[in-house]
Symmetry: C2
């Protein structure tokens, strides 16, 4: 049996593939060399999960890897009709980001409830100004996205005493369907976007939806930037349709200097870091090594993406 | 029976005593008139819980109120040997602040773990800079103070997956005694001060104790400023003996402009607001009204402070 070729779409720092050494021929590609190398690879590891190069290179000529793994929860950056239609299996990093992102959302909810950004501003001005803040226990959240990340967010918010509804593509026990969305966000103190980016979720948070929310509501996006019509959010904040927001993901990343979002009133901007806790890269590499060993042994892969839906279907 | 006189040491906004109207003669005092009015009062409501006027006026001549209630959890601002020695009952606002303060501590823990202050700084500079943050689940906290506030903090941190030890004056089930303190803080990622200010707790967080903590530890004080030797904390931060801190309470409040604490590295300064969620003043007033009705009916008061210990002893 020939040694399989693993092609890595690189990003620094490179993955530590530890015990795969010698069992696989590792080749490296960057965005410019990907198209040329793709036909020679058995497996593609999309380590640079910020790149859209796979989506662009995949439709080209020649054989294609039988398996593509992305070191991310979302697969929107690599999916294209040709990849969706072929036999190649796509897997993702399901599981690695759940708890970190849930904690990050809790951090944002509590920071907004306790008016922490203003406290830090006043500290900079050396000004002592007592304010009343909000209790989060007893408030209501609506989490859009019922995968493991959305469910981890719901569990964490519930642990803080926040009554939390989950919304997914398909209604089932404990998960509301899209028909309930407007009713739920109209009553929520916290609306959290944690859905995969698909045709159905693209632009779902638009002017109409911000208009449905309460003036006291806060909106948080830890999913993908394109879930949100950014101009509509900026306007909703400026007109005080909602009380505040926090975005960790953006239509264009990095968010360009000069974007009006940096200074939108009541908006917290963070650089797509919600899932990235110390050691995350090693966890992603270890997860790939485990999957690789399944693949090598001919055992079924886990975290297999439904390429039509654009995410790993779950319970 | 003559109508009892309730003397209120005032602060704006005044308490809404609702259904007590007509059943009690309400008189008002400020810091300068307190000494003169004290002999004519049956009950003293310390509504201005930032004032030390009671401690100063109490030792004077004449009769004294039979009952003193303070709209605060701590009683350090009013206790003096003469009040401790006499028959007057002292009650506090036990219960009102537990959940808000627990949430506030969770907000600070998560904000520090997720590097939120730096995120807000970078946002101001319109700079996109990804950083790794910390997972709080699996970390360790030590909460000093085993009253209802300390216990609520422990419950909330445990709900976030943080292994939390409580330290109180007397070891009992679920509560460590002072002998365990150094060992516990030497292993804690989060050290939370939520103890009453007493002779035993005054200055307990000093240079030696900050030296015992891990370089990665963060310290949070939501108890009383005097629990902490502030210069020692500033130095511990400057020398990186610990990784960060948040103070909501200070030796001198308001913290004066120009205090080096405003700019101490890695320190979050907030204006004694951790317990004050929307509606808190009405909750404090309602709690006093309930206590007053017990007193009026000759039923035993609750939230009775052990005047030797300086807090309400509990389970």
């Amino acid at each position: 049996m020939t040694t399989p070729t693993l092609l890595v779409l690189d990003a620094e720092p490179l993955p530590r593939l530890g015990r795969l050494t010698g069992r696989v021929r590792v080749e490296h590609a960057d965005e410019s060399s990907l198209a040329e190398r793709l036909p020679h690879a058995d497996v593609l590891l999309v380590w640079d999960f910020t790149s859209h190069a796979v989506r662009e290179a995949w439709p080209g000529d020649g054989p294609r890897p039988r398996w593509v793994h992305t070191a991310s929860a979302g697969v929107d950056h690599l999916m294209c009709p040709e990849l969706a239609a072929c036999d190649t299996v796509v897997t993702n990093a399901r599981g690695v980001f759940d708890q970190p992102i849930a904690e990050y959302v809790a951090a944002l909810v509590l920071a907004m409830a306790k008016d922490l950004p203003r406290t830090l501003e006043l500290q900079r001005e050396q000004t002592w100004r007592h304010r009343e803040s909000q209790k989060v226990a007893g408030s209501r959240a609506c989490v859009v996205g019922s995968g493991p990340i959305g469910r981890a967010i719901a569990t964490t918010l519930e642990a803080l005493g926040i009554t939390t509804a989950l919304v997914g593509r398909t209604p089932r026990t404990g998960v509301h369907g899209p028909d309930d969305l407007d009713r739920l966000i109209s009553r929520a103190d916290w609306v959290i976007a944690a859905a995969p980016l698909t045709e159905r979720t693209h632009g779902m948070f638009d002017a109409r939806r911000f208009g449905v929310m309460q003036p006291s509501a806060r909106f948080i996006n830890v999913g993908r930037g394109q879930l949100v019509v950014e101009d509509a959010l900026a306007e909703a904040l400026a007109r005080r349709w909602i009380a505040g927001a926090a975005l960790d993901v953006f239509e264009t990343e990095p968010l360009p200097p000069g974007s009006p979002l940096w200074r939108a009133p009541g908006l917290i901007v963070s650089p797509h870091m919600s899932g990235d806790t110390a050691g995350w890269r090693d966890e992603l590499a270890a997860q790939f090594v485990e999957l690789y060993e399944r693949w090598e042994a001919g055992r079924p892969l886990v975290n297999v993406v439904d390429k039509q839906r654009g995410y790993v279907p779950g319970h």
